[in-house]
Structure formats: structure tokens, C-alpha cells
Amino acid sequence: MDSVHDLGGKQGYGPIEVDEPDVPFKYEWEGRMWGISSCSGSSDWTIDWWRHVREAIDPVDYLTRPYFDSWAQTELAAYVDSGVFTLEEAISGKCQSEAFEAPPSITVGEAVARDKKRDTSFEVEAVDAPRFSVGDSVVADVVASSHHTRLPAYVRGKPGEITAHHGAHIFPDLSAQGNEEGQHLYSVAFSAQDLWQDCENPSDMIYLDLWESYLEQA
């Protein structure tokens, strides 16, 4: 999706506020949103659908509202889309249908233990041989999916070199549409001077992890 979330290399932003207080949550509501996100969600969502819902937020809101606010909006919108909430419920914050039986509460220790089980692997068994090997010269596709994709605009059409092969990982462009199929994943190195006319130093490199169908042999 070509929206404002695809920020790599875009100009006009900055400077960076580097001296923020070193705390996980500046405001209480940010912690609540983190906590909600850690224990909610719907089994029909994939991580890539969730990302797509977030990147479909109104572009002005995406750029101007606080970060965890976008999580709240994403969660509300995804629940409405899945039919778990009605739009009226999402807007009013009031339940208008029969409730489920609430899950039992957990302790901090149980949360820490549960976090260890969130190490979800995205690697799947490959169905075909990889098309590329380490050292191959490739070019990233010029066009990308208008649904969700993890091929950022700033490398499209640019030459790079395969530096690692990671086996097959779930392909986000399809996973965001509910279809969790694997595809070979590679680390690809791009030279700063191939990406930016005014690059800061020609020896700098930018590495991206890209799926096989994003790439062509150079």
C-alpha cells in the first residue's frame, strides 16, 4: 500500500527528539494500550493484516496522532471489521450484545512466563528451491502490491546483493489477506550511493529482508 507509513527516505521530517525520558510509558494510557494489545486480539487476524489495518489509518492521523493512539484505532477498526464489535459499540465504548465469559486474570509472573511463549516463528517449510544464492546481484521490483507489502518504496527498482538466505518465511502480502504461505526470504544489501543521489558516504550500506517475489536477477 502506497501510503504515508512507507517512510524510508522521505524528506521534511526532523529533528529527532533524542532526550525523551527513559521510561517505557510516558503516559498511563500508553501502558494500558500496551497491556491491552498483549492480551487481546482475534484468532482470524494475522500480524500482517494488523499492520495493514494500521497503515490504512487516515494519513493525517497516522502522522500527527500519538503512536499508541494508532494502536487503539487499529484494534477498534480490526474488531469492527471482524464483526466482534459493531461500529456503534466501538464509538460508544459500551457493549450492546451478550458478553463472553471473562478469562481468568494473570499475575505479573504469569505475564513474564507467557511472554516467553510469544516467540512465534514465521519460518515454514519451503515447497521449492530458492532462486537466489548469497552473492547474487538482484534488482527490487518497481511495482508492489496495492494491498499490504513489505517492499518499501525507497528500494523499488534499485540494485542490491543477496547477503543471506533465511529459508521460507510467511509471505506478508498474502498473509495480510488471510493466506499464510511461505516464500524464500533473503537479506539484501543496497549501497547508499545507489539509493540516494546525495548520499552521506559511498561506503554506507542499507540492509533489508526481502521475499523472493520482490526480486529479479540483475
Binding site: 507509513h5 517512510l7 524510508g8 524528506q11 526532523g14 529533528p15 527528539e17 533524542v18 525523551e20 517505557p24 510509558f25 503516559y27 501502558g31 500496551w34 497491556g35 491491552i36 498483549s38 492480551c39 487481546s40 487476524w45 493484516w49 499492520r51 490504512a56 487516515d58 502522522l63 496522532r65 500519538p66 503512536y67 493512539d69 487503539a72 466482534v84 466501538a90 464509538i91 459500551k94 457493549c95 458478553a99 471473562a102 478469562p103 486474570s105 494473570i106 499475575t107 505479573v108 505475564a111 513474564v112 511472554d115 510469544r118 516467540d119 516463528s121 514465521f122 494491498h147 513489505r150 518499501p152 525507497y154 518465511h169 495480510a176 488471510g178 552521506e200 558516504n201 542499507i206 529482508d209
Partner: protein, 215 residues
Amino acid sequence: MATFDTKNITKIHQALHSHLPSDSALRVKALESLLVEKGLVNSETIDAWVEAYSEEIGPKRGAKIIAKAWLDPSYKQRLLEDATAAITEFDYHGHATAHLKAVENTSSVHNLVVCTLCSCYPFSILGVAPNWYKTAAYRSRAVREPRSVLLEFGVTLDDKVKVQVWDSTAELRYLVIPQRPQDTEGWNEEQLAALVTRNSMIGTDRDLNSNRGEA
């Protein structure tokens, strides 16, 4: 069941944009009450997760991993070869670290981590990402002008030092191994871990000598 339909989700976003209160705290409160009323989550569990990521799961874990890597060359080797397995030795595996890669700073290489498309971060070893990491300013500039970004964080790089920027576009997550400060021979793991900053494990801090203070 999710529609997976961009048009549908855009319509829902527009309706929410028009009708939700503007205050983020009120929005989150409404979401929490609705989830609780529906019986989908419970507030004590949310409290537990907030506490877990405020007190237990955070950059102190990453700092211990780095200190161990500085002290034990065979651990550093394992960390560079398979970081997910290496953090599991500390029982620090978890949220978003199933495909972890460690990248090492040297006198001639500096590594910097970003997620230009969203805000991917290795939560189980570094905790909640700092706010600057999630801003448009950092996400847009880190890949195009990493040296200017580093300068804003107080990191000055010689032209001979090569910058490697890692854009987390897939499920791989990155951990920077900073250089061990000079004159720390004989220091133990705890003393060394105290020198490791969160930013040095993302790459927006480099020279840890300056953090030594009274240690």
C-alpha cells in the same frame, strides 16, 4: 471473520475518525471498557502486562547479553551465529525474538537499526521501544542520512567508519553488539552490563566509555 479488505477498513477508519473522542486517553479507556464488558480481556491481566514490561522485561536483559558476549568469546560466537538460541540460554526468548540477528560494531563498522514501515523491535530483550524509534523523523531519516541522525544523538563518526543500516522489513529483529569500553579488564558481568545503554543496542549510541561515571 476479518474481511482483509482495504476499502472496508478505510471506511471503518473514517467512521472512527469522525466519532471517536480526540483525547487518546479517552479512546484507550473506551477500548478497554468495551473489551472488559464483552468478556474478552480483564483489567487485572492488563495491569500484569504493564507491570511485566515496566519492571521485568526491558533493556537490562539486552545489557546482560552484551556483557556476557564481551566476557565470553564462545558466547559471542553463538550470539553472532544464532542470536535466538543464544538469548534462550538466558531464558530471554519471547515476544518478537524468534528470528533475532546480532550485528557487531567494530572500529571500522557501525550498525544502526530502524523499521521504516512500522515499528518492529525485539521486545523480549529490549522492552518497549523508545518513542523516538517510532517517530516519522527517525523512520524516514535513518536510511537516508544515518550520519546526521547519529550526530543528533551525539555520535560523531569518522568518514572511514562504514555505517550499516538494518531496516527490519521482515520478522527478523536486530541487536547491535556495541564495542567493549577500554580499560575494563577484570570487570565482571554486572559491572559491564551497567555500561550498556539501550540506545547502544539499537545503534544510536556508540562510545560507551562516556557512560562510565562512577562504576
